[in-house]
């Protein structure tokens, strides 16, 4: 059911693009047919399944809930509020970093943050929270407050060869305008935190939110900063808040252009 809804929403966006924009948008009929087919079977599902298998080796939801110190039935809601300050990790962290810490605690090898395996596991764990409203609380403690402030600063900082910031292209006043052939998305409205990891059709792979940020950095000539850095987690905090403010729900894995 959920999948049909998602697909419908996606199809109607595609149709809108087609109607409103005519030839301005770079999508051929062949592409459109391919996307339509993909909707019936989001390629990300295979990755999420793989992620589930990897996660099982860590002990499943029960182990995660225990690690985070929450009741198992509270876990979905808790997941929908990440990134969070996790006291025993000493920082505001993403769920991927929590998974790494679990691995280390269990004497297992830690999966690299930027690896496909980690994206899959992250997608699986976040999908446990599907249908939950995003609920990041950026005033919960001093640490998350600081992370939010750093996220905002990182979002606003113009840098790189073209002197652009995230805000140059994602500020409220230019949402919907067109860059080359791409309408600029409202990062809250598209619920970045609730839809990534997503299968990115133009890249034929599953990508995490921070991996997506790196895509924009690379394209706009901002020095690409590493996944898991304080600034990246902070960006995710800042962008998650945009969707939480709009009461968006978790729907992992997403399917993106």
């Amino acid at each position: 059911m959920k999948k049909t809804l998602l697909s419908l929403a996606f199809l109607s966006t595609m149709a809108m693009l087609q109607l409103n924009a005519g030839e301005q948008f770079a999508m051929s009929d062949a592409d459109r047919a391919m996307y339509k087919e993909m909707l019936e079977n989001n390629p990300a599902d295979i990755y999420v399944e793989e992620g589930g298998e990897l996660f099982e080796k860590l002990g499943d939801e029960e182990a995660l809930a225990k690690f985070l110190g929450v009741a198992e039935k509270e876990l979905p809601k808790y997941i929908a509020g990440f990134p969070r300050y996790v006291k025993k990790l000493g920082n505001v962290v993403g769920l991927d970093q929590v998974l790494q810490a679990m691995q280390v605690e269990q004497g297992k090898e830690k999966t690299k943050l930027k690896s496909g395996k980690m994206f899959s596991m992250l997608a699986y764990v976040k999908s446990l929270a599907n249908d939950e409203v995003l609920n990041i609380d950026v005033n919960a403690d001093e640490h998350i407050k600081a992370a939010y402030a750093l996220g905002e600063k990182t979002f606003m900082t113009a840098r790189g060869g073209r002197g652009l910031s995230c805000n140059s292209c994602h500020s409220a006043d230019i949402v919907g305008q067109v860059l080359r052939t791409q309408p600029l998305p409202d990062l809250g409205e598209v619920a970045v935190a609730g839809t990534w990891p997503a299968y990115r059709m133009t890249k034929s792979s599953l990508r995490s939110p921070q991996r997506r940020f790196q895509g924009c950095m690379k394209n706009a000539l901002l020095k690409v900063i590493p996944i898991g850095s304080k600034e990246m987690v902070a960006l995710e905090v800042y962008i998650s808040k945009l969707a939480a403010d709009k009461k968006k729900k978790m729907a992992i894995p997403g399917l993106k252009r």
Binding site: K112, G161, R162, G163
Partner: protein
């Protein structure tokens, strides 16, 4: 005093041993690479005023051709047509080990935000620059100096601009800003 110290030592020993037994320190168990220096090194100077150099020849057909090429292309790897005279597609850089690396030269990709004569897939974040000479230069609403400054560093007359900064960031040199200016203010036939 002495016994005090002893107690302390015993207490610390006990504490560290018990924490190792109960819960390992997990504050270093996950990756959190540093990015602050990368960002710092990626910053660029504040808004700067420029005077269009005397060497800028706005009527030079070769300069206009280069400007057109920079305007419509993202970089040397993506650009399909051969580069016009005086412009390269790749630059060679030396990395730390002295190895020479070929890197695509970056162009303006101005068309991502601006429509102009012959544009393909133009964006609309910036104003259309179609008919710029007739509309803005011939009417004296703008002059070449304005255009030069805008391209070099648009923050001077609009601190909150969404436009790229092209000279102060060091991505382009004065000549390339001249080329772009020459192209924007040139008389273009509709393609």
């Amino acid at each position: 005093m002495h016994t005090h110290m002893k107690y302390l030592a015993v207490a610390t020993l006990f504490l560290s041993a018990s924490s190792a037994l109960c819960a390992a320190d997990l504050t270093k168990a996950y990756d959190m690479p540093d990015a602050s220096k990368m960002i710092e090194n990626d910053l660029f100077p504040a808004a700067k005023e420029y005077t269009m150099p005397k060497s800028c020849n706005l009527d030079d057909a070769k300069a206009i051709a280069r400007g057109e090429y920079i305007f419509h292309n993202l970089n040397g790897k993506k650009a399909k047509k051969p580069a016009p005279e005086g412009l390269v597609k790749f630059i060679e850089t030396k990395d730390k080990d002295g190895k020479v690396k070929k890197k695509a030269k970056q162009y303006g990709n101005c068309v991502a935000c601006h429509n102009i004569e012959g544009a393909k897939g133009a964006g609309n974040i910036g104003p259309s620059l179609e008919g710029y000479k007739a509309n803005f230069i011939d009417t004296k609403a703008r002059d070449a100096q304005f255009v030069y400054q805008k391209i070099a560093d648009p923050r001077v007359d609009n601190p909150k601009t969404h436009m790229t900064v092209n000279l102060t960031t060091g991505l382009f040199n004065e000549q390339e800003i001249c080329d772009l200016t020459a192209y924007v203010v040139s008389d273009k036939k509709k393609k």
